[in-house]
Every structure is written in C-alpha cells, then in structure tokens.
C-alpha cells in the first residue's frame, strides 16, 4: 500500500504539453478515479504512475519517496489494461505466474499464490486454458488476477470495463469495488464513463486538457460542480444549462425572468433534470418528446430558452407530447455559474419564475 503524490508534474511529448502542472495526493488505500474525456491526460498520468512514461518535470512520490526514475519493474505496481494485454501464448496459470517469475518466488509458494488469487477473482477452473479461449469477462478477471498476484502497492485500472457488454460491466463494477474493500490496495481507475467513476471511486479527479478540474467525492462533483465542465460532464441525462444576463436581481432569458440571489453579470444556470418539476407555476413550455427509461421518464420540453430536459419518477407518462406545461424547481437545487470564467458562484441560487 502506498500514498501517492503528484508534485508539479509535467509531461511533454515532443513539443506537445499533455500535462502542464499536476498536483494531487492519493491517500493510502483510497480508490480514486481519473475521469475525463479522451485526450485529457488521464491515461498519461496512469502510465507515469506505472513507470512506463517518465515525467518531463516535477516529482512523483510513493510514500514520500521520489520515484520519477524508478523503473517500472521495481515499482510493484499492478496494472489492468483496456485490452487486458494477456500474453496469448501462455496459459492462464502462466499469465498469472508471470509477475512472480521476476520476484524469484519459489515455485510452490508461487503456485499457492496463483491459486489464491484465482479463487479471489473466480477463475480457478480456467487456469489451464489460453486467453484466446476465454470470454471478455473472464479475460478481465485473469488480467485482474495477474495484477493482484504480486501484491502490488498500487493497482492501476485503465478503462477496465469499456470492452465488456452492459450487463457484465455492471457486475464487474460491483466486483472490483468489493475486491478493493477486501484488499485495501490503493487503486487508481482511469475512465471516461462518469457512471463507472461515481459508482466505484471514493474520490473522483475530473480532468480536462491535462489539468485537474475538480477533486472530490462523487456527491461533491454532482451537487457542487466547481465549473461548467464538471457540471456538464457528470450526470446522465445531462444537466440543463441556460445562459442569461443578470440585472437588478433577475436573470432574463428570452423574456422569462428568474430571480437570482448572490450573483450578477453574465450567468449560466445549471438545473439537473431530476430536480425539475411540472406544476402550476414556473417557466412555460411544450412537451416535444418523451423517453421512457424504466423507472423514470425523460421529457424534452421545448421552451423559449431552448430544449429543457425534465426527469420524472414513475414508469407511466403523466403527460403527452404537445402538452403545454410549466416547469419549476426549488432554489437550493439550482446552480449558478459565471459564464465568463465558467466557475461556480458558491451560495448563489436562482428561483423559478412566476
């Protein structure tokens, strides 16, 4: 187990600066997710942790020791790749044994360890097969076993679930999380899928273009996104963002007036679809589209300010397309951002009109 620290870490590929200045502390035993769109530098950070990329500047610390130049093989890091990267010419047993070969573990002890870890991820009956004969989910488990067998001080997961089908993804999510709870190994998950990040990680590091946008618990990121980027990246269906100009305590958008507290100037209001309600008051619109999602129903409401998404509990639609409705919300459920700097204005709220 280890505590990980990025201190002013820079990574350049030639002239391209992928990570300009990264500062981050990951506590011992924590499960964190690096979340961001592709090309945001999350995988690069992961490969620096693994020792595959050398940082171009700054310091990378494991338990307070600078490891910038420590070779990958000496870091004792387990990594699960998106492609699983199993060795196709070896049996599952040899795949899992592979890391122990270089640790000079005695054969008997190594085989015992392989057995134990194979039981842990439930691949014990597959040990004699080749990776090519396994399903995606099984390969995933073998890759996990191989990463865990060396008892790593740090476990890195690079988009581990993106090659699995939907139902398998759901069960592996639960499984990886419970593995982490059992083993307590510091784990870093890289993903572009906000649901994976919010369901599995203790803390999420949301990245954008090589910079850390926000660090916090899933709740922090969802309820108090520090920027427009985080607000729009997290949440499904996505948050409604309505931009307007505040003057004299009111934001006016296309003639609809929202009373605002604690902010002025160019603002963007953020309203989560599930916190919007149909009612007698609020802003007016017409239902354009209905998308049943099982437990919930998503309404796309056409308003003078553009399309607004409203998520309602329940499985049967209480409204029909073309219906005129009014949408309201509680002030404390609203977020207000500065349009210019794209930052959240803490403590500012808007009220529903009317």
């Amino acid at each position: 187990m280890a505590k990980i620290e990025f201190r002013n870490v820079v990574k350049r590929f030639g002239a391209v600066e992928v990570i300009p200045d990264m500062n981050l502390v990951i506590e011992d035993g924590e499960f964190v997710a690096l979340l961001g769109p592709s090309g945001c530098g999350k995988s690069t950070s992961l490969f620096m942790l693994a020792g595959i990329y050398l940082p171009s500047g700054g310091e990378l610390l494991f338990d307070g020791h600078v490891v910038n130049e420590v070779e990958a093989r000496d870091r004792n890091v387990g990594i699960v790749f998106q492609s699983y990267a199993l060795y196709p010419h070896m049996s599952v047993r040899d795949n899992i044994l592979f890391p122990l070969r270089f640790k000079k573990t005695p054969r008997d002890e190594a085989l015992t360890k392989v057995k134990a870890v194979a039981d842990l991820v439930r691949v014990a009956e597959l040990l004699d097969r080749r990776p090519g004969e396994l399903s995606g989910g099984q390969q995933q488990r073998v890759a996990l076993a191989r990463a865990l067998v060396k008892e790593p001080q740090l476990l890195l997961l690079d988009e581990p679930l993106s090659n699995l089908d939907a139902s398998l993804r759901l069960s592996m999510r639960t499984e990886i999380k419970s593995l982490h709870e059992q083993l307590g190994v510091t784990t870093v998950l890289v993903t572009h899928d906000q649901i994976e990040a919010t369901t599995m990680a203790d803390r999420i590091i949301c990245m954008r273009a090589g910079r850390i946008e926000q660090v916090g618990t899933p709740d922090d990121l969802y309820l108090r996104p520090s920027s427009l980027f985080v607000a729009s990246f997290i949440g499904s269906p996505p948050i409604n963002l309505i931009a307007g100009e505040a003057e004299g305590g009111t934001v006016t958008v296309n003639g609809v007036r929202f009373p605002v507290d604690g902010a002025s100037g160019s603002l963007t209001m953020g309203l989560r679809p599930e916190l919007l309600r149909f009612g007698d008051t609020g802003f007016a619109g017409r239902i354009a589209q209905i998308e049943p999602m099982g437990r919930e129903i998503l309404y796309v409401v056409e308003t003078g300010m553009g399309a607004v998404r409203v998520l309602e509990q329940g499985s049967s639609a209480g409204h029909s397309p073309g219906e005129e409705v009014k949408v309201s919300f509680l002030p404390e459920n609203s977020l207000v951002f500065e349009t210019e700097r794209q930052k959240l204005i803490a403590g500012a709220h808007v009220r529903a009109p009317g």
Partner: protein
C-alpha cells in the same frame, strides 16, 4: 403470406411468381461450369511446370544406358496424363462429396496399378551411385570404355554439408539480425527511420548481379574469397533487407499493451522482448527462416563466382560439374543428382508451407 392486404399490392400484381427451383438449378449449373473451366485452365498452365520435375524424377529412377532414352518417359506419360484428365473429369461429374472421393480413389488405384505395370519393371537405384561411390565419374565413364579426363569429384556428402552450412549459417544470422533490427524499427522513433524503411525496399529491388564484380574484388582484398564465410556474408547482406521488412510487419502487429504489461510485471526490456514479444512473432520468424534457408540452399551465382576449390563446392556447384563432366555420358546420373538436390528443399517447403503462406499476410492472429 396468404392474407395480403398491403395497399401497395396494386403495383406488383403484374409480376409472375418466380420459379425458385429453376433459378437455383441454373445457378448451380453456372457454378459447376465455371469450376470445370477454371480447373481445365489451371491444369493446362501447371502441366508445363510440373512435367519437367516429373521427367527429372522418372529419368533419375529409370535411365539405364546413359544415353537419352525416352521409351520409359513416354510410357509413364501415358499413365500420368490420362490420370490427370480422369481426376478432372471425376471432379467435374461427381454429384456429391462421397462420389468424388470414390471416383478419385478409383482413378488413383488404377493409375498406380498402370504405373506399376508399365514403368515399374524399369525402376532402379543405379543412377544414385554418386551417393556411395566418390569416384563415380570414372565408373560411369568406364561403362563406355573411356576413363581418362574424368574430374575427381569430392564426396557428395561433403558438398551436401557445405550447402547445409551455408544455408544454416545464413539463416541463423538473418533471423537474429532481422528480428532485432525489425523490433527496433517497429518500436522506436529515431532520426532517419522512415528513410531507412524506404531504403530497405529499394535495396531489395536492386539487381544483385550488378554488384558481383565489386564484391569479388572486396572479398579478394579482405581475404574471404574462396571461403564459405565470405559467401555467407554476401548472402546475408542480400537477404537481410527483405527479412527485416517482413519481420517489421509482424512486430507492428504485436500490441504495445502486452509489452508495457510485461514491464510493469517486473520484466526488463530484454526479458519482455524474449518472453512476451518474440513468441508473438514466432510465425514470422519461422517464415523468414525457411525462406532464407531455401534461398541459401538453392544459391548458385555467388557460390559459383566466389568459391573455387572443389572442397568448397556446394550442392549447386556439384550439380553443375556433374552436368558439365558426365552429361552426354550419363543422363541418368545427372537427373539423380538433381533429385537428391531437390528433396531437402521440397521437404522443408512442405513442412513450412503454413508459415510461408502467412508471410504475405504478416500478422499475429488472436
């Protein structure tokens, strides 16, 4: 189907119902005709390639008097050509897999029987005298009463050994150097990488014979003329560019992830290369190994130019001198040497066919 109440039906009422069986029968007939014509064409173009080999083998095992006799040849042809035509007709007329196999077996049995009857009595191993009689040239000449002037041939096994040595050493060097070079070209960025890749192909396109005089001089100056190692070096130099190019394709197909995974699993770069990357390109290595070996085995121009002493003869030189010295005296012995020379590369080709096929595809299959 019965209750058709599609409003658009009015536009399609004029269409008569298609006779599916007739269409299927027609398609079957067309496919069959195409196959028959195709096979006829293939047989016609492959006969001129196969017949010389067939003659070579037949003469090697049947020639007796030493002069160019054709009686056995024509008799064996009388068996083989009808057999090929019969195979083709069987394949064209057979109404199913079972009939096809029965037909082929019948034709094969009949051909073997006819061959044994017409050609069998004339077969013998006397022409392979060179395998056990080093001074066979004198023996062969003495049959027609002329002994003097015969070349003193080295033992054929010596030439065989030289050929194996040249082909083997060339293969070992080419495989080692090509694997390492191709890995580097595939994985690392360095200045001049793309121009080096381009030049590999250009080098391969270069007609090597244009270099034979300068190379003769170079080998003379560095003292490697008339040595096997000199020839090996020259052959390696010419074989390498293509081998590197082929191997690069195989290495390109090995995913980075596997290597990175090995590195984080505790392997050094060299260990990762040996235990994880190399096994993925095994087919490529086998392909270039077989290919290079056969190139070295059949090499003629360079050994002819750069090797002089008869203790350095390879099989191709041995073959050349046998033809030069005994030809006109004994046809059969020349053919027998040819067969002896042919067999190892034939065996190797057949054993490695699978890998050679993959060379053009150049990839790891999951």
């Amino acid at each position: 189907m019965a209750a058709q109440t599609i409003p658009l039906a009015s536009t399609t009422t004029a269409e008569p119902a298609a006779d599916w069986d007739a269409l299927a029968a027609q398609a079957r007939a067309v496919r069959r005709t195409k196959a028959v014509v195709l096979y006829a064409f293939l047989i016609a173009v492959s006969l001129p390639i196969i017949l010389p080999y067939f003659w070579l083998v037949t003469i090697a095992f049947s020639a007796k008097t030493g002069v160019a006799e054709t009686a056995v040849l024509w008799r064996s042809m009388a068996v083989v050509v009808p057999a090929v035509v019969a195979f083709w007709l069987t394949a064209a007329l057979a109404q199913g897999r079972r009939q096809l196999w029965i037909g082929i077996a019948a034709v094969a049995a009949f051909a073997v029987f006819a061959f044994a009857l017409l050609v069998g009595p004339d077969l013998h191993l006397g022409n392979f005298i060179f395998l056990w009689e080093p001074d066979f040239a004198s023996v062969v000449r003495s049959r027609i009463g002329e002994v003097k002037g015969a070349v003193q041939f080295p033992n054929v096994w010596h030439a065989f050994g030289n050929s194996i040595l040249i082909a083997g050493a060339q293969t070992a060097i080419v495989v080692t150097v090509a694997s390492l070079a191709a890995y580097y070209l595939s994985r690392f960025q360095f200045p001049g990488r793309s121009s080096m890749l381009r030049s590999l192909l250009v080098l391969h396109a270069f007609p090597v014979l244009t270099l034979i005089v300068p190379m003769f001089l170079m080998l003379y100056w560095i003292g490697l003329l008339d040595t096997l190692s000199g020839v090996i070096l020259v052959l390696v130099a010419f074989e390498l560019p293509f081998a590197i190019f082929i191997m690069k394709g195989f290495f390109d197909a090995v995913p980075w992830d596997i290597e990175m995974s090995a590195l984080t699993d505790g392997a050094s770069r060299r260990q990762a290369f040996v235990s994880v990357v190399l096994p993925q390109v095994r087919n490529g290595i086998l392909a270039i190994a077989v290919f290079t070996f056969i190139r070295g085995w059949e090499e003629y121009i360079f050994v002819f130019t750069f090797l002089i002493r008869n203790s350095n003869w390879t099989m191709s030189l041995y073959m050349y001198w046998v033809r030069d010295d005994v030809m006109g005296v004994d046809y059969g012995v020349v053919s027998a040497v040819g067969v002896f020379y042919l067999v190892p590369s034939l065996i190797l080709y057949m054993a490695a066919q699978r890998y050679l096929m993959q060379m053009s595809i150049g990839g790891v299959k999951g």
